[in-house]
């Protein structure tokens, strides 16, 4: 009897708080720092609760081995590796089935956001090393990787932001930790989005949701992704934004003569009309000839 009582955990209590005191739509505390490695083109260190991820970006550079190169676009090689000390029991450092799968899905997610066609025949390498983990490490790696890519100055459509949503004890919760992932009815669903276009670039599901639950979970995920994206942007801008920069940019605003902004809009259609008429005239001339 005593063991049964111990096993039955209350995942969400009457106050709506979870095992670690979070609300159901609250993520673990996130800390993002961009540009931490000197010798990488771009890098990012991210702490997400107990998860610690270090991501570095190299390239674009010559694609090797050469037969893998694509003359139409760059390759994006994502490598997800867990350190031997990142889990309670020692992990064999040899890349396992799970590492290879996560490398593949995260790489494909990032491919959607990078303008790969600008750098044909080259490769961009993203190395994500998990230093400490406690569920949701692929979401953490992907979030950090997109900051590292932006830090490297690689042209991207948008930042990719990821979060895991799931269910424990019949309740939809955001950002599950290890205890919640081990709940008897647990579902774990990592999602990655490009939040401008709401384009889904990664969606996996461990366990089963009903359709209603899925819709609810997706809505919650989109909401928390917006919060995480703000942290990503803050991390990227942090290095450059200073009081001096702000003052100077305001000064330049005063110094410049103000132009009415609607002047531009008025000008543009006129130009277009001119171009059109110009084109028409040319066409007529051609006919005459």
């Amino acid at each position: 009897m005593a063991t049964e009582k111990e096993e039955k955990k209350v995942y969400v209590n009457k106050k709506g708080l979870r095992l670690d005191g979070r609300k159901i739509d609250e993520t673990r505390p996130i800390k993002i720092t961009a540009g931490v490695l000197k010798n990488a083109k771009g890098s990012c260190y991210l702490e997400w609760g107990q998860n610690k991820v270090l991501v570095s970006v190299q390239g674009p550079r010559e694609a090797l081995p050469k037969h893998t190169a694509n003359p139409l676009k760059a390759l994006l090689k994502f490598t997800y590796r867990m350190a031997a000390f990142s889990v309670p029991d020692r992990k064999n450092p040899k890349p396992g089935r799970r590492d290879i799968e996560i490398s593949k899905v995260c790489g494909e997610a990032l491919e959607k956001s990078v303008f790969l066609e600008k750098y044909p025949n080259s490769q961009i390498e993203v190395w994500a090393q998990i230093l400490d983990s406690n569920a949701g490490s692929r979401a953490a790696a992907l979030t950090a990787a997109s900051v590292a890519l932006a830090d490297a100055g690689i042209p991207m459509k948008d930042l990719v932001t990821s979060v895991a949503v799931g269910r424990a004890d019949g309740k939809i919760i955001v950002d599950l930790n290890k205890d919640e992932e081990d709940a008897p009815d647990a579902v774990d669903m990592p999602i990655a989005l490009m939040s401008n276009s709401k384009e889904i670039v990664l969606l996996q599901m461990d366990g089963l949701f009903s359709k209603k639950e899925f819709d609810e979970a997706f809505e919650v995920a989109v909401k928390s992704i917006e919060g995480i994206k703000k942290l990503q942007i803050k991390a990227l801008k942090e290095k450059y934004e200073s009081k001096e920069f702000e003052q100077a940019s305001k000064l330049s605003e005063k110094a410049l003569p103000k132009q009415p902004s609607n002047l531009l809009e008025k000008d543009l259609p006129k130009q277009k009309v001119d171009q059109k008429t110009g084109q028409k005239k040319e066409e007529k001339k051609a006919e005459v000839q």
Binding site: K157, D158, F245
Partner: protein, 203 residues
């Protein structure tokens, strides 16, 4: 007003002519790189804060001879690939490890460059900075370059790929100034600051 944008952030919702590092989606103009944009400019464009060197025609770059072939050399110009330098245009004896200043003659659609107009460096030192900060090292009408030359008495040759060759004068001070420029490239009024820095540090 100038503002910092990150990839996927809106540069403007107005209709404007698009410049570098922006893309159009649903009638709005977004940035595709971390950089600075001027909200009052007639063009919507972003000046990147981070990036790498992609060769353009007529760029003068500083390269390292990486390999000798039968009819030419492969030169490392810090781009995505090694560039080919034909032996026809080379008069000086070159070998692996020589440092040369070359001009980019031709760039193909894969960003591979052929180079020529070789000049060999004898002596001097080379300092590398991020290639996209090079316009700041030169400045408007070469004002920054003049300030650096005056402040340090160095002979300076700037490669578009971010490598800067210097000989004579106070090269140590020059490299410290270059580091400062690279670090504060996004700040306004940099030429005056560097001028003050050089005057202060000069012995």
């Amino acid at each position: 007003m100038k503002k910092i944008v990150v990839p996927g952030e809106i540069v403007t919702e107005q209709r404007k002519r698009t410049g570098e590092h922006v893309y159009l989606q649903n009638g709005k103009i977004y940035s595709d790189v971390i950089g600075i944009t001027d909200t009052e400019s007639m063009n919507a464009s972003v000046v990147a804060l981070k990036g790498f060197y992609i060769p353009k025609e007529n760029d003068i770059v500083i390269g390292l001879i990486a390999q000798e072939l039968f009819s030419g050399f492969l030169v490392d110009i810090g781009s995505l690939y090694l560039s080919f330098l034909s032996k026809d245009s080379v008069r000086e004896p070159l070998k692996r490890g020589s440092i040369v200043s070359v001009k980019v003659i031709k760039v193909n659609e894969l960003n591979e460059a052929d180079v020529g107009d070789t000049r060999v460096f004898y002596g001097g030192e080379i300092f590398s900075i991020c290639s996209i900060k090079i316009p700041r090292v030169i400045g408007k009408n070469a004002s920054m370059l003049d300030a650096l030359k005056r402040g340090t008495n160095c002979n300076i040759i700037i490669g578009r790929n971010g490598r800067i060759w210097a000989k004579g004068g106070d090269t140590e001070l020059l490299f410290r100034a270059l580091k400062k420029i690279e670090k504060e490239a996004h700040m306004p009024n940099l030429t005056n600051k560097i001028g003050e820095f050089l005057a202060k540090e000069r012995k």
